[in-house]
Amino acid sequence: MKFLDYAPAPESQALLNLKSDYGLFINGDFTAGRGTPFQTINPATEQQIAMIATANEADVDAAVAAARHAYDGVWSRLSGSDRGKYLFRIARLVQERARELAVAETLDNGKPIKETRDVDIPLVAAWFFYYAGWADKLDHAGVGPNPASLGVAAQVIPWNFPLMMLAWKIAPALAAGNTVVLKPAETTSLTALLFAEILQQADLPAGVVNIITGDGSTGQTLVNHPGVNKVAFTGSTSVGRAIARSVAGTDKKLSLELGGKGANIVFDDAPIDQAVEGIVRGIFFNQGHVCCAGSRLLVQESIHDDVIERLKRRMQTLRLGDPLDKNTDIGAINSAEQLARIRELSDLGQQEGAERWSTDCVIPENGFWFAPTIFTNVSTSHRIARDEIFGPVLSVLTFRTPAEAIAKANNTPYGLSAGIWSDKGSRILAVADKLRAGVIWANTFNQFDPSSPFGGYKESGYGREGGRHGLAAYLKPAVRTGSRSIPAAEHAPVSKKSASASKKSASASKKSASAEKATK
């Protein structure tokens, strides 16, 4: 064996006890979906893992009704401390079954086991543990004394961090006193259904969390359902726009966590080797399937050649292959569809004149794979500098002055994340002030923590997940007592139903808020 050659060290699948078919989790039980079931595959082998049910409109109705019933009958009447106890139980159960969840996630998603084992699943447990403690402290959430929950939350999550996104959504919603209908992404439903088994073990009251599976149309039916009071979506900006349109004129509270084109800025005084590690972590973590990925590298011109040389050398050590292997750095691309998009945009990058370089790793025969790739000589107008690729593809641009770095970093409709690499604290603080992005990492990248708010500026969406702000996204102020004098309580929006229904019957029928929305 040569240097950096390792014997295979695959994680065992023996601790998995998967079923061949998974139904919908509605009102505390698994039920068959009424839509056409679909198969979920391992993207590293293209082998089927299980069949997953599709929720049709009637199933969505049933799930929302179950959530409403649980909200009215149980969850909204439970004390905060009891809600918290259920969340603590869930956190502990996730920890107990962490290895099983990590293996299942890697199998279904294609991401390396070292990431699911060391990042995804520990954060899932941490998220529930963090928000568990909030459940009986809502007065301090920042929306005034005695805040109220919203009701039924419709949550639609992406495939890049399946169980982690589930935790980001469900934990604050339940802590705040809402009930949930969650739809995982079509290609990564498996761990959400294992999570449903955990909810059964935790003895969570039936209907408090419902998990329905299916494709985008199931998600669309869910967010448009008149019985939901809150919509939380993580995914593409184009779908986010469509959701923002469809909830317009309703009382549904909306959180959107959408796309990004994060700038990772490396100044000439940065510790280069650390910066190279950060660049790799920024774009090759999770095969670049990260909305906050550092997909645009902005390097100060004077150190460009040095950084690129060291980056290429580092990239050659990245091991691509079996996601279940503990030594794997780069796993499989999640789907054939996503692989096609990465290829298309990368080819465009070449056509537009950027210089393409990929590591010379061996690509496995089956499954979906894309070698870590960087483009140099990229200019700000190139598609690969503007569009979210959502894959292991880095676009490298240069700058001379801090002002130019800031201008280029902000030159995007997105505003989710950015990185700054410099040894000079005062420069980091000044640049961080000027970047229009919701999360900024200074001399690090892609760090997440349940206590730390995460979310975008501009077209990367609105609302925050994590921290006190993430809790407030699932609360509303106590009903005010109507004083206009200073200092006053919160403002109360006019009833949109009456305003929109009279004027705009066509859209009102589609968009009118639920009849149930006033039941709280």
């Binding site: 919701g438 900024i440 990492w441 923590d449 206590s451 609105y462 200073i486 004027k503």
Partner: protein, 287 residues
Amino acid sequence: MNRLAIPKTYKLYIGGKFPRSESGRVYEVLSHKGDFLANAAKGSRKDARDAVVAARSALGGWAGATAYNRGQVLYRIAELLEGRRAQFIDEIESCEGVNAAAASAQIDEAIDRWVWYAGWADKYVQVAGNANPVSGPFFNLSVPEPTGVVAIIAPQGGESLLGLVSAIAPALVAGNTVVVVANELAPLSGISLGEVLATSDVPGGVVNIVTGSPAEIAPWLASHADVNALDLVGAGDLDWVELQISAADTLKRVLPPESGADAAAPALSRILAFTEVKTVWHTKAIL
């Protein structure tokens, strides 16, 4: 013999200047009795777009000013409004048909709101920000920042000056810049507020006031890609659902219409509605 009075020409307030509408259009402002009061500029799409350009240009300076400075500038508006109270009483009495006492009470309330919001400028970050105890060697801080350019449809009924002030003041606190469509039927106090702003250290372009038809102007602001947020507080009589749908194209932050005497009542949440929370992770050395 009575001295012949000199009536004022009421114009738009854009970029710190008082232009007429580029369209050349005016509309008659009538008293509550139906008497002619003035010709107000009937703002056009171009005027609205000019106002957005002015607001965008002013954003860096206003958002970049120190919180203490912004607080003082907002407080100074209250000072100057106090000094011009007679003029506002006149305009409110004639436009709204209320007596001098009611007009005076409205001005009191408007002044007090400027003072209340001025005081928030250097405090809202402390109340809405957080130091986050993350599990790792990081100094992790979340702070609210201004969203950017905020387009506002001012309350259309009721108290014209108070409605306008209640809508624009909270957006200004954090450092946003504003394009506001004034009360269509009672625009005079709004235009005069522009004169107060122009003389009270508010940099040109920070507040831009367009008079005219909200129904005509609002769609251009709702769809404008350089507007970051839309406050529909006074849009209850417009097709505001359509405005909100249009705002979704660039994922603008949107506040819904409000009605009644306490529309846009003073609240911290109105300040925070036009802020973005930024979280910064600073690496700590491991000693």
